[in-house]
């Protein structure tokens, strides 16, 4: 029995994908490609956060670029202050070069209060995770307790990323506007320097990606994961069993934002800049496209979707004029997937697998809700409601 379980674990798509991500550097030696693959894995992590929020909990966020960008900016602020340029501005404290340029001559140079805590790298890293998570928690609290659902969530999150983008560009003295933060120090943690073109940075990103893949799979198997899916299948019924649906949604949304922030942090490690272009509508669209094409309900689908689309885009953009044709192809593929394959390529794969092994049955949505019902502890004032419910 035990041997069988080990064999199943070894052969599961999760293990295979994780192993593939980890052994790729054995075959790729070009530092440029190591860096590129790291970038695609960063996008895979972003797609994983979308798969959690949209695929599992049914919240279609069109503003994930906001969380990604916030994470990236927090990390970039710390690395900016650690860069040699900032340390050599002739002030007793580190100062970003653009603040020196922006200060009129004769005025005292000072570090804006927003930047002060970021002198500590640990603070910057923690902020890259917690700022997006808290922001999402506040937004989630605001909308989910208000009973806002479905399409309106998408519109609100879309508006949020537009607002954030406008504000970051507008607050030029603090954020350096359109130019963003570049010329950063390399990420140095406890003596290990994560050179963006080196293996340590790749393994940092790949390791986190694999851990998240397995961790989110585990989360999906817990009671919380079951409830996410049950809420998606039939929110009202879950509510009648006495669950506070909003709490679960806020949790899923904030965790997803935290992972998106982590992806932003790793993006800065990999690409060494943060600018308004990584917290705009187009990256928010892109992550939805990767996740939808790969399969919104499949974690593996999300990772593969991000890897495949970015890889193909890169391959085609080498040839100049094909870039725009590629965008056209992506648009067409996206529309076709949404209309004909709502579960994405992973769903197609799973269907083919089912076809080959007809005895295995997929878990349907009503079964999920029924399972959640079994798990529920009857709450006295609500028990009569679940008693009345007809199924």
């Amino acid at each position: 029995m035990n041997l069988l379980r080990i064999r199943r674990f070894m052969l599961s798509p999760y293990t295979l994908l994780s192993a593939a991500i980890l052994i790729v550097p054995l075959f790729v030696v070009d530092p440029f490609w190591i860096n590129r693959l790291g970038l695609y894995l960063v996008f895979s992590i972003l797609a994983l956060s979308m798969a959690l929020c949209w695929g599992q909990a049914g919240i279609l966020s069109l503003g994930h670029g906001a969380f990604f960008g916030l994470g990236a900016y927090c990390m970039a602020m710390s690395l900016k202050l650690l860069s040699p340029d900032s340390l050599n501005q002739g002030t007793p404290f580190p100062l970003p070069d653009f603040i020196t340029w922006n200060t009129p001559p004769g005025e005292a140079l000072k570090l804006p209060w927003l930047w002060v805590p970021f002198q500590n790298l640990g603070f910057g890293m923690a902020a890259a995770l917690l700022v997006p998570a808290l922001f999402a928690a506040v937004v989630g609290w605001f909308v989910f307790y208000g009973g806002v659902s479905g399409v309106f969530i998408s519109i609100i999150t879309l508006a949020l990323v537009v607002i954030l983008n406008l504000v970051v560009i507008d607050q030029q003295p603090i954020t350096n506007g359109f130019n963003g933060l570049n010329n950063l120090a390399p990420f140095d943690l406890a003596g290990v320097v994560f050179d963006p073109y080196g293996l340590p940075a790749y393994y940092l990103i790949a390791g986190i990606c694999v851990l998240l893949l397995l961790g989110l799979r585990w989360l999906g198997s817990t009671r919380a994961g079951l409830l996410f899916r049950a809420v998606q299948a039939d929110e009202q019924r879950v509510q009648y069993f006495g669950y506070d649906v909003a709490v679960y949604k806020i949790f899923a949304f904030s965790l997803s934002a935290l992972i998106a922030g982590l992806a932003g942090l790793l993006f800065v490690v990999n690409s060494q800049y943060a600018s308004p272009t990584i917290m705009d509508v187009s990256i928010s669209i892109a992550v939805v496209v990767w996740t939808a094409v790969g399969g919104r309900q499949s974690l593996i689908g999300a990772v593969l979707g991000a890897l495949a689309i970015n890889g193909a885009q890169n391959a085609l953009s080498e040839s100049g004029s094909l870039v725009h044709v590629w965008q056209l192809i992506i648009g067409i593929v996206f529309v076709l997937v949404v209309v004909f394959l709502p579960r994405g390529l992973a769903g197609l794969g799973a269907d083919l697998w089912q076809h080959l092994r007809p005895q295995a049955k997929a878990v349907e949505a009503p079964a999920l809700v029924a399972e959640a019902e079994l798990l529920s502890v009857p709450v006295p004032q609500n028990s009569h409601q679940s008693g009345q419910r007809q199924s």
Binding site: I169, D170, A292, V338, V339
Partner: protein
């Protein structure tokens, strides 16, 4: 003071212009048409194309763009949106994809650079309204949006299609029982909404840069107008366009254009949260 009011009215009329088409589609079918902004963009490019190659006078581009984007809208409904009425959230994604496709097609044919549209001479000067000078073009935008609004009201309340449309938007099943071809009505509604977007694009092309990505800001603006106004009321859409135009011009005067936009979006989020049926919705059931 009067100047600020006029500027608010002018912004409001642009908002109404671009939101009208979305209102028709969203208000009656509940379909989130994310390609709306790109249909506006397409209308602007119809103007560029007809001026450059066909030498059509500017105002004649209005019906041209209306027919062109309208037919495209009809096709989009027949080919794609029709399959998704049972999953409304997916219509948002599919129309978004259509928007990406439209944008890329335009970028491939016209190039990514800015395009110029020449405005007829009689619309370039200033007109004096009540003792205050106002750019004639702004006045024209105002008049066109009022005309289109009246046209939509007439179609909705005076024609056979309008009656069927209102019936379908209230209850598709019962409408079908009464012999209304629901599919056909929906296709024509989508065509009407898309056509209005195209006509808006013509007017927008006269005062704004015409480029492939111009649509994305219009789709957000239109949504906000429609959502604040209340989903299924034309009068609400008009009132919210006026209100948001006013707020925008006051905020722009107090701070700057960028922050005014941000405040407008925050306002919209608050409205969605606290008045899910819109500020000006008359239905209280």
């Amino acid at each position: 003071m009067l100047g600020s009011l006029l500027s608010g009215l002018s912004i409001g009329s642009v908002l109404l212009l671009v939101a009208l088409g979305l209102m028709v589609i969203y208000g009656t079918m509940g379909v989130i048409n994310m390609a709306h902004g790109d249909l506006v963009m397409l209308g602007a490019y119809v103007t560029v194309f007809s001026q450059r190659l066909l030498h059509v006078p500017f105002l004649l581009c209005l019906p041209l763009a209306f027919v062109f984007t309208g037919s495209l809208g009809w096709l989009i409904e027949r080919l794609i949106v029709r399959r998704l009425y049972s999953r409304l959230l997916d219509t948002l994604l599919a129309t978004w994809g259509i928007g990406i496709i439209l944008q890329q097609v335009i970028r491939l044919t016209f190039g990514p650079e800015l395009q110029n549209v020449s405005v007829p001479v009689f619309l370039t000067g200033e007109t004096r309204v009540g003792g205050i000078g106002m750019p004639s073009y702004r006045l024209a935008v105002f008049l066109v949006s009022v005309a289109l609004l009246l046209g939509v009201v007439a179609i909705l309340h005076r024609t056979d299609l309008g009656m069927r449309l209102r019936a379908v938007s209230q209850n598709p099943q019962i409408s079908a029982c009464h012999g209304i071809d629901v599919n056909q009505v929906r296709a024509w509604t989508f065509a009407l909404g898309a056509g209005l977007a195209g006509a808006a694009g013509v007017m927008v092309s006269g005062f704004n840069a015409v480029r492939p990505t111009m649509g994305s800001s219009y789709v957000v603006d239109s949504f906000i107008v429609v959502v604040v106004g209340g989903v299924s009321s034309l009068a609400g859409t008009v009132a919210s366009a006026a209100l948001l135009g006013g707020v925008n011009s006051v905020m722009a005067w107090l701070t700057n254009d960028v922050l005014a936009k941000a405040v407008l979006l925050l306002l919209a989020i608050a409205v969605i949260r606290f008045f899910p049926k819109g500020l000006f919705s008359a239905q209280a059931r």
